[in-house]
């Protein structure tokens, strides 16, 4: 069973709807005992980094997430703000994140490009991963973000995307997966990624 972590940040229904469409066994939950029973986790999220960390703390979710992800090595997929929360620190609110990957969350700074980066863009896949089975560099995904991951360890980078600069759009470190775009809103290719996460990982 896949648990979508409900920590009060953003639209979880579209994530739930997407997993239901591919017939996954999925729940939305903020209940620690329920989350503990899951085989896989999704950390979605839209909004401010600082609020995201605050909400995770308020709901006492950080401990259980650390246990499941770092000790039990359960697969987790972070989406948008979700993957940003995996980093050590964010410029958005100048706060520390979960620190699971050696990266910082930083803001787009080129003034010639409109921020947020909002719309459809493609990937430059850097590394093979089952997460991208059936996906190639031609496929478009839906992005909405003003911040991105600055990864120290390039070995964690699965894909980059070009906007005002080339930025990290997907990562994997062992059981920890994350995408900056919204697979749940990215038509059939987005569903393919969720399907890969649900059935191949």
């Amino acid at each position: 069973m896949i648990a979508i972590i409900d920590y009060g940040m953003g639209n979880l229904h579209s994530v739930l709807k997407a997993f239901k469409r591919i017939n996954s066994d999925v729940i939305i939950s903020s209940d620690i005992n329920e989350i503990k029973k899951a085989d896989k986790l999704i950390l979605p999220g839209v909004g401010h980094f600082k609020n995201g960390m605050k909400k995770l703390k308020e709901k006492n979710l950080i401990g259980v997430l650390n246990d499941m992800v770092l000790k039990e090595k359960k697969p987790i997929l972070g989406i948008c703000l979700g993957v940003q929360l995996f980093t050590k620190h964010s410029e958005e609110g100048d706060v520390d994140g979960l620190g699971w990957i050696d990266a910082k969350t930083v803001k787009f700074k080129d003034s010639k490009f409109k921020i947020p980066h909002m719309g459809w863009n493609d990937l430059n896949i850097k590394k093979n991963s089952v997460l991208f089975d059936g996906i190639n560099n031609e496929n478009n995904f839906y992005f909405v973000h003003s911040y991105y991951l600055d990864c120290k360890d390039q070995g964690d980078v699965l894909a980059t995307t070009s906007y005002s600069k080339e930025f990290v759009s997907a990562i994997q470190k062992e059981n920890i997966f994350g995408v900056q775009f919204h697979p749940e809103k990215s038509h059939s290719y987005g569903l393919q990624i969720l399907k890969n996460f649900a059935s191949k990982i």
């Binding site: 409109k114 909002m118 719309g119 809103k185 038509h187």
Partner: protein, 254 residues
């Protein structure tokens, strides 16, 4: 490569899908939920639903309708029409919409944009501005294009950006439903003065028009009604969306 979004703008009146000309004469097009299903199949980039009577009648876009769209749509969508409070925005986002469109309230109570963007994030707040050209000057209109406002267009656009809007939707009342092409000068006057993405609306008659709005006007996205609900200029009703290949082709030579 980053690709501008092409967004069908779907107008609602009494729960039916309609299309206007210059914000007037709404013509019944069909069932909006059916349109959602068709746009799902076309894999449209995004959809916008606007209740054109809500503000005039002091109502808000129907929550049950938005829930239905939320259940059907597999593309990101925004909703607007008479939104006045963060509670309403919360309910609409929970119903499955990604964004809300704030128009009349942006004028009457611009603090709503600030409050809403702080709670839900800028990316979920579109400030929409309806504009009419009068004696060579642009005037801002509220309340579904019925009320002229004493506002300077550029100052107002900068203000909504500062308050936290994630996007500005700039709508030409004069060109609505005409399919004569966008008002490039109008779009450029906004994109030159704000850093957030601008959605151009009003006048699209072809993919070429959309290309001009992006290349010459600086729009990040283009939205239209007639072109997506009518077949050709004879205006037979036919819900449609350009082919992926055609979209990529038209925007590839930039």
């Amino acid at each position: 490569m980053f690709r501008p979004r092409i967004i069908p703008c779907l107008l609602l009146k009494d729960r039916g899908l309609v299309k206007t000309v210059k914000f007037k004469d709404p013509r019944y097009i069909g069932d909006p939920i059916n349109a959602v299903k068709i746009f799902n199949d076309f894999e449209a980039d995004e959809l916008v639903f606007l209740d054109i009577d809500a503000s005039k009648n002091n109502k808000t876009i129907d929550l049950d309708f938005v829930k239905k769209v939320g259940q059907e749509a597999f593309v990101p969508f925004a909703v607007g029409g008479g939104i006045k409070s963060t509670d309403q925005i919360k309910a609409l986002l929970n119903a499955g919409s990604e964004k809300v469109v704030i128009n009349s309230s942006a004028i009457e109570n611009s603090q709503l944009i600030k409050e809403a963007s702080e709670i839900f994030g800028s990316q979920s707040i579109i400030a929409s501005i309806d504009v009419k050209k009068e004696n060579g000057k642009y005037s801002v209109y509220g309340c579904g294009g019925t009320k002229k406002m004493e506002l300077d267009l550029i100052d107002f656009a900068k203000k909504v950006e500062k308050l936290g809007a994630g996007e500005i939707m700039i709508n030409s009342i004069d060109l609505d439903g005409t399919m004569e092409g966008f008002d490039i000068e109008l779009i450029k006057s906004i994109t030159d003065n704000v850093k957030i993405p601008v959605i151009a609306v009003g006048g699209a008659g072809s993919l070429e028009d959309m290309k001009r709005a992006v290349e010459e006007g600086g729009a990040s996205a283009v939205s239209a009604g007639s072109i997506f609900v009518y077949s050709g200029k004879s205006k037979g009703i036919l819900i449609n969306y350009p082919d992926k290949e055609d979209i990529e082709e038209i925007f590839s030579h930039r």
